[in-house]
């Protein structure tokens, strides 16, 4: 940020902008013992991405195998282990921690103007717990594999399966505590560490959704931890909980498991909502439509999400009346999600929309999540669910929400905050191609699964030679998965490339609004040189004035932030609203446009 100022002596100047959280220390020890939320986020980014590609490679094996009705290379037992591994890795090691532990960790404290999370060492502990849990899970694969499915239904998992179920259960148990510690950290941080002037209704919507997510994590994760522990005790010591042979109840497991695992779906998708709110608003350069409705819908989802678990069990022998209540509540939980979709779409109206790669991911999300959400109604409706449950229809619905929703938001957020995290710009061209490939590949992969599920193809089937009419859809699905894989591998290359030869990122390369764009890219260890004082409202864009400004100056790209003032040393003073928007914008435009 010292583009126009004279560089000050490094030793004396307290605002040395060349030292940031990345280059403050270089040893491995400095990384593994760090308390800096940004460094921990980077540790998470590396480890979670590794697990993501591991899980994706399992998905590739599944798709290859289903090309032919009688299998291609795998035995049934191996196939079962592969789809279990895909589910366990993707759910517990990618989707649940993904956005909170990477983007939440990095951005949430900066967004609210804090120096760090409330409990830095607890934050580091959560990463170690995640790694230990991940280690146990990988050990269970290497040591013989598990073939229970990621749902671990009893009594199969507790009494019949021969694999390394114990190791996997311990791994998930430990990784669960990683989530819990992160959740507690976020709740306390949002309550106690907001900068002066950062009122609750000035919080960026990403913070609201992380807050709602944290509440769900803290309330739900202990339940699944207990449940999996009980399975482990039954498996090892034959204590009677779930197996009728011992005197237990197998359906009890399903209640306890889904009591967590349905809210867990919201743990996976609420953070995505937060990212999408940021992207839509910032790339439309317009305040989000219905801020309060979007914020409170996150809380409504978090609350109602705990009351709908029984819709996974309409044919499980729970009572018919239970089924009806769960069906009704499931329809109601869809409403807040619908509100969000409407509000995001309305935000685009009269915006000044920049179709850069993060925005392309966000628009892709809008389309895919709409389909994912609406197909959920088929499953919320008890009558229609009876035929569709546990078929590929459910697989397609789940992936539309989890991949079309969470993964696209994850990628959008990663691209959006990449310059902030690394201080480097990536090439937007390849990123747009990647976004397009992901969108097309995803639809070709998963849309046919709606049809084949409607035809009746059960999920978790290795062979379908007795129903060859399903093959055409499976072949389409595999072709789509190839395109999807290409789209997902591309960022690996151009993002890595940007680390070494990307242009240096300005503090606010997107012209976005929010405290994280007020500090340098990458930020210093303390995030800000001075505690920011927030005076302007959230997403305080003025699309009309900006449009007029563009017309007047004939600029195509306005990189500046309208509200930031640059002092004589060339350092940013965050969050001080200028009374005269247009003049400060013009000044910013000149200084940052390099």
């Amino acid at each position: 940020m010292s583009a126009i100022g004279i560089p000050a002596p490094v030793e004396e100047h307290p605002h040395d902008t060349r030292t940031n959280y990345l280059n403050v220390a270089h040893t491995l020890k400095s990384w593994l013992t760090t308390g800096d939320h940004k460094r921990i986020a980077i540790l998470y980014l590396i480890s979670i991405s590794t697990f993501f590609f591991l899980g994706a490679s399992f998905a590739g094996m599944i798709r290859l195998e289903l090309m032919s009705p009688a299998g291609v290379i795998l035995e049934s037992e191996t196939y079962n282990k592969v789809f279990t591994a895909h589910g366990v890795v993707m759910v517990f090691l990618f989707l649940v921690p993904g956005i909170p532990a990477i983007m939440g960790n990095f951005i949430l404290p900066i967004m609210i103007g804090a120096r760090d999370l409330a409990f830095p060492r607890l934050n580091l502990l959560s990463w170690y717990l995640y790694m230990i849990g991940g280690g146990f899970i990988v050990a269970s694969f290497v040591g013989g594999g598990i073939d229970t499915g990621w749902t671990f239904y009893t009594p199969y998992s507790s009494m019949y399966s021969n694999g390394q179920v114990g190791l996997a259960l311990i791994g998930i148990f430990i990784a669960g505590f990683s989530s819990i510690t992160t959740g507690i950290n976020f709740i306390v941080t949002v309550h106690k560490m907001r900068a002066p002037g950062m009122t609750w209704f000035r919080l960026p919507l990403f913070v609201w959704s992380m807050y709602a997510t944290s509440v769900v994590i803290v309330l739900g994760t202990p339940v699944v931890a207990i449940t999996l522990l009980l399975v482990l005790l039954e498996r090892v010591f034959h204590l009677p909980f779930f197996s009728p042979e011992l005197g237990g109840d197998p359906v009890l497991f399903q209640h306890m498991f889904w009591f967590y695992s349905h809210p867990a779906v919201y743990i996976m998708v609420l953070p995505a909502f937060g990212i999408i709110s940021e992207l839509i608003s910032n790339f439309s350069r317009k305040r989000i439509f219905g801020y309060h409705f979007v914020a409170f819908s996150s809380l409504a989802i978090a609350g109602l999400g705990f009351l709908v678990w029984g819709h996974h069990m309409f044919v499980s022998s729970q009572s018919m009346y239970e089924g009806l209540v769960f069906s009704l509540l499931s329809f109601l939980v869809a409403v807040p999600s619908a509100i969000k979709i409407f509000n995001w779409t309305l935000t685009l109206y009269k915006g000044n929309i920049r179709l850069q790669s993060p925005m392309l991911y966000a628009l892709g999300f809008l389309g895919l999540f709409t389909i994912g959400g609406l197909t959920g109604l088929f499953l919320a409706s008890a009558g229609t669910d009876v035929h569709l449950t546990a078929t590929y229809f459910v697989v397609a619905h789940f992936h539309y929400v989890m991949v079309g929703g969470s993964l696209l938001a994850f990628l959008g957020g990663l691209h959006y905050w990449w310059p902030k995290m690394t201080g480097r710009m990536f090439a937007d061209g390849p990123a747009k191609v990647s976004a397009l490939l992901v969108f097309i590949g995803f639809n070709v992969t998963f849309f046919p699964q709606f049809i084949v599920g409607w035809l009746g193809m059960p999920r978790r089937y290795h062979y379908y030679y007795f129903a060859p009419e399903y093959q055409v859809y499976n072949v389409m699905s595999t072709l789509g998965a190839t395109v999807l894989a290409l789209g997902l591998i591309m960022p690996l290359f151009y993002l890595t490339h940007s680390l070494f030869s990307g242009a240096r990122a300005a503090a606010n390369p997107w012209g976005a609004h929010g405290l994280e764009w007020e500090t340098t890219s990458p930020p210093p260890t303390t995030n800000f040189y001075e505690t920011p004082i927030v005076q302007d409202e959230v997403y305080d864009f003025d699309p009309v004035a900006e449009y007029e400004q563009q017309r007047a100056t004939s600029e195509i790209f306005d990189p500046g932030h309208p509200h930031r003032r640059i002092d004589k040393e060339g350092e940013s003073k965050p969050g001080i609203a200028g009374a005269d928007h247009s003049s400060s914008r013009a000044a910013d435009g000149q200084k940052e446009d390099r």
């Binding site: 079962n80 309060h292 018919m320 869809a334 915006g351 229609t384 009876v386 449950t389 409607w454």
Partner: protein, 381 residues
């Protein structure tokens, strides 16, 4: 295999009609809202792209009435869909009092069904059309799910407790039967078919002790193929006809072929003539018979089937000698009761034999290929 694009599962129960109506209505609703969002996103993204000259004056950021409308519409639509879904669910979960009972046991990895008169079958369920059928089900080991897509219904089969499902089949035919709750290694092969039959045919089937009745001899099985699925009797009848010679008394007889070579008809000859009929074409007949070799390769016809056919052809000699009439009959006799079998064995023997078959049919972890063949054999019985 040529690809086909089925867009809907067969509809073969009373559930299917109302179910499909609800399903397609939801599809239309989904399509409508998806289009609304897609069109909205695309139109706005193009119209208000950076640098466009679209009017951006008087932007709106909050609109309580609009928000409440957007909240109200999905809520009301949701409640309407809930109502119809709930009605369907209550209907599906409430078996009528006059239902006929069939009992189902699931175990890794097969289905076992027992009809009220004691007839048992594995991986197949015969049901009458036009009658309410209630399945009372339990698992011997892990949780399974009994799923018939063509009937639009399924229910989990749980150890330690009974679950029930019911349906009323409407159309004769064979439909997929799947296990739809992951249950271990051969989960995907824990299935078979549901055979919906006309009530009379079902009653007859039941009276005969079912398809898999162990007291069927090889010749009787061969007879079912001969007069049934393969319909050999279309051309090879009681007497010679222009399309094909009668096979009565064939075995052991000397045949003269179109190339003037002659041979005594033995097992090997009959097998060859089924698979490659034109190698040794009986003098005076044209090349009209299909060669069944391709069916053998496809697995639609098994070596076991051929042995059974040969046994039946041999039996035509014996019966002719004895004067009883088991000569090839007309079409579609496969569902008629076989006179030989009726009353041949008492119920006690029947049950005992069925029990034996049940335990023998229990798979013991056979490999992939065996599983495939076993399925093919099951299909061809």
């Amino acid at each position: 295999m040529p690809f086909n694009f089925p867009l809907a599962p067969p509809s073969a129960s009373t559930f299917a009609g109302p179910y499909d109506t609800l399903f397609y209505t939801l599809c239309a609703f989904t399509l409508l809202f998806t289009l609304l969002i897609f069109v909205g996103v695309i139109v706005f993204a193009v119209r208000y792209r950076q640098g466009s000259k679209a009017d951006r004056s008087r932007p709106v950021y909050e609109d309580l009435r609009l928000e409440l409308t957007l909240l109200g519409i999905p809520t009301i639509l949701g409640l309407i869909f809930f109502y119809f879904g709930a009605a369907q669910y209550i209907h599906m979960r409430t078996p009528p009092k006059d239902s006929q009972d069939i009992f189902v046991i699931g175990k890794q990895w097969m289905w076992h069904a027992q009809h009220s008169n004691g007839v048992r079958e594995n991986n197949t369920l015969h049901v009458p059309i036009g009658r309410n059928v209630r399945l009372t089900m339990i698992s011997q080991d892990v949780i399974h799910a009994f799923y018939i897509p063509a009937f639009r219904t399924q229910m989990m089969v749980v150890p330690g407790r009974y679950t029930t499902m019911w349906f009323n089949a409407t159309k004769e035919g064979e439909y997929h039967l799947f296990c739809n709750m992951y249950c271990g290694t051969q989960h995907s092969e824990m299935g078979g078919k549901v055979v919906a039959m006309a009530p009379e045919a079902y009653t007859a089937w039941l009276a005969n002790g079912g398809d898999n009745s162990p007291q069927l001899t090889m010749a009787q099985r061969g007879e079912r193929l001969y007069n049934g699925r393969l319909a050999c009797n279309n051309c090879h009848g009681v007497a010679d006809n222009p399309r094909g010679p009668s096979l009565v008394g064939l075995f052991g007889k000397r045949r003269t072929f179109s190339n003037a070579v002659a041979q005594v008809a033995d097992d090997e000859y009959i097998r060859e003539s089924i698979l490659r009929p034109y190698n040794k074409l009986v003098a005076g007949y044209g090349q009209e018979m299909p060669a069944y070799e391709s069916e053998l390769i496809d697995g639609k016809l098994t070596e076991e089937n051929i042995l059974e056919l040969i046994a039946y052809i041999k039996s035509m000699n014996a019966s002719t000698a004895a004067g009883t009439n088991v000569a090839p009959g007309g079409n579609n006799l496969n569902l008629q009761p076989l006179s030989i079998r009726a009353g041949a064995a008492g119920p006690a023997v029947n049950a005992l034999a069925a029990e034996k078959e049940y335990s023998e049919a229990t798979p013991t972890g056979h490999g992939k290929n065996l599983g495939v063949n076993a399925y093919a054999a099951e299909n061809n019985r």
